[in-house]
């Protein structure tokens, strides 16, 4: 009887390990803090799939509108990185040389029904961040707004940032900060929100969507 009980106990624990701990998954687990990622800002587009020439046919990340995965590490040497729509098209491919920035973002933006869906390869490089400060930049992916000004508290993060591009990183005090996003030349705010910035970290403020339909700004850690 005791052997039976022990066996049952062992099997139960084994089943717990095998089944009970396997439910997570869903993407992002192989990503890291360096490499390449996709930021998806096109509100009428299906998810975009990240792949590289080093692992042909393998989807490294699935990027959904306005959400950010962490970076996926690339092997050494020149690579072709691609963001392809889950529908099959469009496919955006970029050649990244061996001597490349540590972190890069493929920004997918635009609209299928208006200006078309486009992509840009951004370099996500910032200098050392002082301990009580955060680094921040603005990434413009909003359809229908030619250029944007963004401010965090009293600090301007970007002036006249054109769609499909990003401002340079600026350092701002860490902690809760009010962000204000305006169409360049306009006094009325397109978007305001309060964000909490951790000291020593770098962030992108991703503006995504379509003016007149739905737009949002999401704080993404770089």
């Amino acid at each position: 009887m005791q052997n039976f009980i022990r066996t049952l106990g062992v099997l139960s624990l084994l089943s717990l390990v095998l089944f009970g701990c396997g439910g997570g998954g869903g993407g992002g687990s192989r990503s890291g803090s360096k490499g390449v990622r996709v930021l998806h800002a096109s509100v009428d587009s299906a998810p975009f799939l990240l792949s590289t020439s080093a692992k042909e046919g393998e989807v490294l990340q699935t990027s959904k509108f306005s959400f950010a995965d962490r970076y996926f590490a690339l092997p050494g040497g020149e690579q072709i990185v691609s963001a392809s729509s889950a529908v099959g098209a469009p496919v955006f491919a970029f050649t990244v040389p061996e001597d490349r920035p540590e972190r890069q973002t493929i920004l997918v933006y635009g609209s299928r029904t208006k200006s078309g869906v486009k992509a840009a390869l951004l370099s996500d490089e910032w200098k050392d961040v002082p301990p009580d400060m955060s680094a921040l930049r603005f990434v413009h992916g909003v359809e229908g707004v030619r250029s944007i000004d963004a401010a965090v508290g009293s600090v301007s993060v970007g002036q006249g940032v054109s769609v499909g591009s990003a401002s340079l990183y600026v350092t701002v005090p860490a902690g809760p900060q009010q962000i204000v996003v305006r169409q360049s030349g306009s006094s009325s705010a397109l978007y305001t929100a309060t964000v909490d910035l951790l000291p020593g970290r770098a962030y992108s403020l991703l503006a995504a969507g379509e003016h007149g339909y739905f737009m949002m700004v999401r704080l993404v850690e770089d």
Partner: protein
């Protein structure tokens, strides 16, 4: 056996069951996504979500479905059966591919909903839309919902008949895009079209619809829609051979209460 042995048996059984409990919970969509302590389902749609035709019975002559007061339909049944908060945010006559997708943003943006069910597109069939029109609208709805931290749940459409038989191919087109967009985005969906095909006794002139109206469900049809939605929300495959029993057990219903038939009965 000693007391310690009983404890070991109990622990062993508990550990054996835990993984399966975990699986069941993982399939359920009834999750308080925003952590406000309230499970809230927002029902977005047109007259079918509104509940037009509810209160009429199979066999009744209904040339035009009564509009009703918007307190019935599948949302009211979900609220009563599942004990969750449900808001009926339907607008009869609305087109998803035009004004509906814009109203959707304003409705969802200001809502504390955890789950947003979307069953709209049948009015668009009057305009003979292309599959890409539906695909675009459903993708937008999914993107906006997820960006706002809510779970989207797309719902396929009942098959029109009778006076509206000519709309059936376009309703099928919409339902096909519900499935495709859901799959692409890794989302579950509710297959009301399939429930129609498994459950209708008269496939050509389904008794779940007001007839000859041919577009709006009657009370029995709304039961079918609500049962199909409830099953998905609870992580139950209602089209499995024991799907009806699973739903009845989960809701504490008498055997035979669920009228949705399993896939094996589809003609």
């Amino acid at each position: 056996m000693k007391k310690r042995d009983y404890q070991c048996v109990f622990l062993s059984l508990l550990l054996s069951v835990l993984p399966f409990v975990n699986f069941a919970a993982a399939d359920s969509l009834l999750i308080d996504e925003n952590g406000d302590g309230l499970l809230f389902y927002l029902a977005f749609g047109d007259s079918i979500t509104y509940g037009s035709g509810d209160g009429t019975q199979p066999g009744q002559d209904v040339p035009v479905a009564p509009r009703t007061d918007g307190t019935g339909g599948y949302p009211a049944r979900l609220e009563a059966w599942l004990g969750i908060a449900v808001r009926n945010a339907a607008r009869p006559g609305e087109y998803l591919t035009t004004s509906g997708q814009y109203r959707f943003v304003s409705v969802v943006q200001g809502s504390a909903a955890d789950i947003v069910g979307v069953m709209e597109g049948v009015n668009d069939t009057f305009k003979r839309p292309a599959a890409s029109d539906y695909e675009l609208a459903y993708q937008r709805v999914v993107n906006v919902t997820q960006a706002l931290g809510k779970k989207p749940l797309l719902i396929t459409l009942p098959q029109p008949c009778c006076f509206r038989k000519d709309l059936a191919p376009f309703a099928r087109l919409a339902s096909g895009q519900v499935r495709a967009v859901s799959a692409r985005n890794g989302l579950p969906y509710v297959d009301v079209e399939k429930a129609w095909s498994t459950t209708c006794a008269n496939k050509g002139e389904c008794e779940l619809l007001c007839r000859p109206d041919g577009l709006h469900p009657n009370s029995k049809g709304y039961d079918v829609i609500a049962q199909t939605v409830a099953a998905v929300l609870m992580g139950i495959d209602i089209f499995a051979s024991d799907g009806a029993k699973q739903l009845e057990d989960a809701l504490g219903w008498e055997p035979g209460t669920v009228i949705v038939k399993p896939a094996s009965t589809a003609g």
